[in-house]
Symmetry: C2
Subunit: 236 residues, 2 copies
DNA sequence: TCATTTTGAATGAATGTTCAACAAACGCGG
DNA sequence: CCGCGTTTGTTGAACATTCATTCAAAATGA
């Protein structure tokens, strides 16, 4: 699905697609079923962001989707399954997003690293409601193995890619770094910036967060990320 | 350095102090009351770590403390108040901890920064159960102003201290950094490492986390944090 | 008509809170 | 040191509420 030209962030209005396209869109019930599931997942993300994990109820989700109470247990078997499906959706969306950015960056490790950092602060995955939903799941992850596994979407694969990039950059620039530790530090910093964005109390915006990440890249790999005239950092 | 001589992490056994020191310790009921409150707060942290925020119930807290059901509503007014008191305790403990480390570090900004990072991975505040409890609160913070305020214990003050340290280091070493962005990056990295430690799926330990932090300090301020013979990084 | 989807009320379990009774410690006059 | 009433702390059952789940009936579309 790549870079998401779609703006999947707004709350979908409850006018179902089924209503306006009586025959072209639905292809029987199969399509409708998928639409409903996605609609409920979106409503779940909204509820998580608005009320937190503990206060998220099926009634609130159903209301948010403009549907009736028992609907969730029909399309998903239980509340638990709905939440897992929601987390799964977010994990897949995030993974597809960074992977697309990575593939588009070509072979240059500096451009690859830059692209990964930029992707993390892209509106498509870094909206207020999605960050809040992520954090809601993080809070429960330790006590639920299923969540814990899915929360590792920024997982071993991502970490390995970072280690590889750091190794190549070190070889190119003769930096005195330890690639594994550096990759871990970068990864942690990106997650930490997400966390601060989510808390949202301060004057931290997506732009300042990205600037902080760029600052660190420039400090670590000065030959690859240099400061321009205006003070902004760009890949060399 | 200052790797926590104290080990305040174990669960306090429920033999109340009151029992064995009939007159010296209690000074009436006042002391007992405080002891009970702390006992319940400890049990709350345990429950949060073991079952997550959503599944933490007053019955579980009471059982964990070895006391009866209605007890919480006597010492705290409500479940909400208990949770706020718990978060408050953790916030104050954390703030006192980094502040003590900072004060003990003297005037050298490099030693100060090193001490702050080390303090973050000290057993006293960075145990599995405390990290899990923190994360449980983070998950609910966005939707609860009270939590949000308290979760900012690593807050503006801490951030200001970091900015100040970064500024002084830059002046000492003529680094081409932007202190505010660098401080934000360091702060975020520390939080992100906490998050990864909490998830705990991987091979990340307190030691490797601290090594990652050191790696970043060394990259950002190479004149102040140098690699020793063994590969380990130390303040110059 | 038949299969599928949706509804909304009924159900039952979980849980925060209240409260009346009980226990322990204290104050105090003897 | 000894009763004895009072205050303080504790218990566990009762209560009320919230909420996930179930399901029979209605609506919808093929």
């Amino acid at each position: 699905m790549l870079l998401a030209p779609m703006e999947s962030d707004a709350i979908m209005p409850d006018t179902t697609v089924r209503d306006r396209r009586p025959d072209a869109e639905k292809k029987g019930r199969k399509a409708s079923k998928e639409v409903r599931r996605q609609q409920l997942i979106d409503a779940t993300i909204d509820s998580l962001a608005r009320r937190g994990y503990a206060e998220t109820t099926l009634a609130d989700v159903a209301d948010g989707a403009g549907l009736s109470r028992g609907i969730v247990n029909f399309h998903f078997e239980s509340k638990e399954k709905l939440l897992v499906a929601t987390l799964q959706f977010m994990a897949e969306e995030y993974a597809a997003h960074w992977r697309a950015a990575f593939d588009k960056a070509g072979d240059d490790p500096a451009r690859q690293l830059w692209a990964l950092c930029a992707a993390d602060f892209d509106r498509a995955v870094c909206s207020r409601r999605k960050l809040a939903a992520w954090c809601a799941f993080w809070g429960e992850a330790k006590s639920r193995p299923t969540y814990q596994a899915l929360c590792g979407s920024r997982d071993q694969t991502y970490q390995n890619v970072l280690v590889d990039i750091c190794t190549r950059l070190r070889n190119q620039g003769n930096y005195a770094i330890e690639p594994r530790a550096t990759a871990l530090a970068i990864n942690a910093m990106l997650e930490g910036l997400w966390l601060r964005l989510m808390m949202g109390t301060e004057e931290v915006s997506r732009e300042t967060a990205f600037a902080a990440a760029a600052e660190m890249l420039s400090a670590t790999f000065p030959k690859h990320f240099a400061r321009e005239a205006g003070g902004k950092i760009k890949p060399a």
